[in-house]
């Protein structure tokens, strides 16, 4: 199926009544979790995962993708109006978005965020549509050595692009890999780290771990913050930015889109990182960097475009290689597995309704979010007034129900609560949970492909050097690892001089 026929087929799937409804529900829910500071898309998707069991796979993924995209739109509202990021991908939007709102330009800030999101999200989807086919064909040529090298490169990027300490990111990723070893050995079917406990035979589930780390831990962390943010009491008018504002934001949207596009594909990148980088880039290329933080419209347009472009393109590695590049996609990967489908190069041919249906519904979702977002902002503002004492117990309840209903297992509730506490402690000690969950999801692929490669070569590590794709990926790994060391040595040398 070529890209155009595929898309038409995809729309025929997306326009089925129940899929439309699910897409709509996903977008709405996503915007809601985007708006609410208590919970982000990862938590929401993991909690809602069990609800999608009864749905056909395409419908389930359509809804979960809708949540992801919706959250990217919704996050900006809270950032702009109350200076609190609704979720991590809109942290940067606070800086200039809130400043604009205080200057009475809340409407323009919200408007440019939504339009920027729409443009960037759509461009990202076009990229997904055009790249996925050829990349899937290429990915068939990827054997165990190539996969091993690419996942190793992924880990290197995850650590290299870590937002905080690189050492802590390494620790977290390794912890995730270690946790993924629990269960039956993938090659010999022998038990590992199960301590004879029957509940651990199949390993820990992605969903209970993710719900704990990103749902419960988030709530526990927020309980400490007593200061309730004040909602800016401004009349929101002029949702459409005027001509001069458009001209000012034009290139910021383009640059944000490009940065988000590529960082979305990169393992360890994704929406959150792309907002930080695109904001930094805007500030550097701007002729008036002193206005950043004082209400520069570029400072809203760039990160809001970047996170939506990244959200769209992060589906590329998942749908073609079967490698989830960021946390949200790691949880979505779990959703595919629960539905009995392994994402990978065969997905486009074996399950075209899923690939094309999800793609088409994301196009539709972008349009719906554009139309819905602006008129609904007064409603979202109302929701922000829900007191924490009602909201947080509700979220905790959803976490418990979500963890239980995946396997009807009380053990999973224990796992979820344990990881909730671990997640809370990690936050306190300034560790990121994202590398942990990525290590947890990528760990089994990493291990099994290494061992399969060595089985193929009968124990010789030469197999990684003989294959061109593998050796290129490994060389990039080495460069990425040595670069910071080189810089450290150089700095020391310069300081001495």
């Amino acid at each position: 199926m070529d890209a155009l026929n595929g898309l038409f087929y995809g729309f025929s799937v997306a326009f089925e009544f129940h899929n439309l409804l699910l897409m709509f529900a996903g977008c709405l829910l996503g915007t809601l979790v985007g708006v609410l500071p208590g919970i982000g898309p990862v938590g929401a998707i993991s909690i809602l995962l069990p609800l999608t069991f009864q749905l056909p796979t395409a419908g389930a993924i359509i809804m979960l993708a809708g949540i992801y995209n919706g959250a990217m739109y919704g996050g900006s509202t809270t950032s702009i109006l109350i200076n609190v990021p609704g979720e991590t991908a809109s942290v940067m939007t606070c800086l200039d978005g809130y400043a604009m709102a205080r200057k009475g330009q809340a409407g323009a800030a919200l408007g440019i965020a939504v339009f920027g999101s729409f443009i960037a999200g759509t461009v990202g989807l076009i990229g997904l549509q055009l790249i996925a086919g050829p990349l899937s064909t290429l990915a068939l040529k990827f054997g165990p050595p190539e996969y091993f090298a690419i996942i190793l490169l992924g880990f290197t990027f995850i650590v290299y692009l870590a937002q905080r300490s690189m050492n802590k990111a390494v620790l977290m990723a390794l912890t995730g890999i270690t946790l993924s070893l629990i269960g039956l050995d993938p090659i010999t079917s022998q038990q590992r780290l199960t301590f004879g406990n029957i509940n651990l035979f199949e390993g820990l589930g992605v969903a209970p771990v993710a719900i704990g780390l990103f749902g419960l831990a988030e709530v526990l962390g927020n309980l400490e913050k007593t200061a309730s943010a004040k909602i800016l009491n401004v009349k929101i008018k002029n949702m459409f930015p005027d001509k001069s504002q458009w001209l000012q934001a034009k290139w910021a949207i383009v640059r944000g889109t490009v940065i988000g596009f590529f960082l979305g594909i990169l393992p360890g990148g994704g929406p959150v990182l792309s907002t930080f980088i695109s904001y930094g880039v805007e500030k550097r290329v701007s002729k008036h960097p002193e206005q950043f933080g004082q209400g520069a419209i570029e400072g809203v347009a760039a990160p809001e475009s970047a996170n939506n472009a990244a959200a769209s393109t992060s589906f590329i590695p998942l749908m073609t290689l079967g490698i989830p590049p960021n946390v949200v996609l790691a949880v979505l990967f779990g959703a595919f597995l629960i539905h009995g489908i392994t994402p990978g190069p065969m997905m486009m041919t074996q399950h075209p309704e899923i690939f094309w249906g999800v793609l088409a519904s994301m196009y539709l979702g972008n349009v719906i979010l554009l139309i819905l977002n602006l008129p609904l902002i007064p409603l979202w503002v109302q929701i922000l007034r829900i007191p924490d004492k009602i909201l947080y117990p509700l979220i905790i309840l959803f976490c418990l129900v979500g963890a239980y209903s995946i396997n009807n297992s009380v053990f999973d509730i224990g796992v979820m609560v344990l990881f909730g506490i671990i997640g809370y402690l990690l936050k306190k000690f300034d560790f990121e949970a994202a590398p942990l969950i990525l290590g947890f999801v990528l760990g089994p692929m990493f291990e099994v492909n290494l061992r399969r490669s060595l089985l193929m070569s009968q124990g010789s590590f030469g197999i990684f050097v003989e294959r061109p794709i593998a050796i290129v990926a490994l060389i990039i790994c080495v460069i990425l690892i040595t670069l910071p060391i080189y810089q450290a040595i150089r700095n020391k040398y310069i300081v001495k001089r």
Partner: protein
């Protein structure tokens, strides 16, 4: 997620489980809501009109089949297909209740905690009884805790090569492997799986040296063949679409009889290897079930497996219809327990079976 709607103190059988409402059901034409409404109505009305104990002939209410896997998997879909056809014959709803966990053992254990009245049954792959229970200690005896009712479906197992591979028959492949020891690589769905045991059987007969690359499921193993990373693969049902699309060539099927989908492909047995699929989907009841009721269920399900509707539904999910009556399935389990035990020990996956079969 089940709600016990009501339990009448005098009648111990009126406690019934009604499936929790899932939003998706509205779209997949399940009528659980309707059933729930009717059940609730009956619970209110029936005690009012019948004070004495009136026991109609079995079945006088809905039958629940526990399934140890999540909805949408092959076990779940096969059981649903059977249930749908069986309820027309039994005249009562047959409801699938998913109880995933413990590689399918949770549902079997749950069945034993139910009354053996024929209103709760379990749909399980034979592999949970005779393969999983050798890997892990399970809270039941695979041969004696249950009364097998019927074996009704099986996956399509077979050995495939890429479409442009030089081997036209399994004999070609074996001859090549014998000539080049340690050169042929093959993929299976994992150590200790039926697909791997089949290749073991072939290799043992000719003393072949081949390299085994285990994969996590059929889809991954199929991808490895198509990408040329292994020379052949031993797969389950996922092979059907790829063979039909001409991406792969099917050299042999791993079943007792030839596949209705590929009548020109020989079975391993025809080729002289004493091996056939040991994974058959079955319905079992607790072992102390009333024999007359068991017989009634067996007859109804047997008739259901012959219906057009059932056969079409299986075809859509790439499963093959088979038929074992209770006795034949019991013999099937006992025979394959030994075969699997020998294979698992020889591959080093287990030292001794974790569960005693009886």
């Amino acid at each position: 997620m089940d709600k016990i709607i009501d339990s009448h103190p005098e009648a111990p059988y009126t406690s019934r489980r009604v499936k929790y409402f899932h939003p998706g059901d509205m779209f997949v034409k399940n009528n659980h809501w309707l059933i729930a409404a009717i059940a609730a109505w009956m619970l209110v009305v029936i005690p009012l009109i019948s004070t004495g104990e009136v026991r109609a002939a079995y079945p006088d209410r809905s039958i629940i089949i526990l399934v140890g896997f999540v909805p949408g998997g092959s076990m779940d879909l096969s059981a649903r297909a059977l249930a749908k056809s069986a309820e027309k014959i039994l005249g009562q709803p047959v409801i699938i209740e998913n109880k995933p966990g413990g590689t399918g053992t949770v549902a079997l254990a749950a069945l034993l905690s139910q009354k053996p009245d024929g209103y709760t049954l379990c749909g399980t792959p034979s592999s949970v009884l005779i393969r999983v229970s050798q890997f892990q200690k399970v809270p039941f005896k695979p041969f004696t805790s249950f009364k097998p009712i019927i074996g009704f479906a099986e996956p399509q197992l077979g050995i495939v090569v890429k479409k442009d591979a030089p081997w036209k028959t399994l004999k070609d492949l074996v001859a090549d492997a014998a000539k080049h020891p340690g050169k042929i690589k093959y993929a299976t769905t994992g150590v200790g799986s039926t697909t791997q045991a089949a290749v073991d059987e072939i290799a043992a007969g000719h003393k072949l040296q081949m390299i085994h690359i285990p994969y996590k499921g059929s889809m991954e193993a199929l991808t490895a063949v198509l990408g040329g990373h292994v020379e052949f693969a031993s797969l389950t049902s996922e092979l059907i679409p790829s063979v039909k699309a001409g991406q792969t060539r099917l050299l042999a099927v791993i079943s007792e009889k030839r596949s209705p989908k590929f009548l020109d492909v020989p079975t391993l047995k025809e080729l002289g290897y004493n091996f056939a699929n040991d994974a058959v989907f079955a319905i079992v009841a607790p072992s102390d079930i009333d024999l007359a009721i068991a017989k009634k269920i067996e007859e109804a399900f047997a008739a259901a497996t012959k219906s057009r509707e059932y056969l079409d539904a299986l075809d859509k999910i790439n499963m093959l219809p088979v038929y074992y009556d209770g006795k034949a399935f019991d013999a099937f389990l006992r025979y394959h327990w030994k075969v699997i035990n020998k294979n698992l020990k020889s591959t080093g996956a287990i030292k001794e079976a974790a569960t005693l079969p009886e």
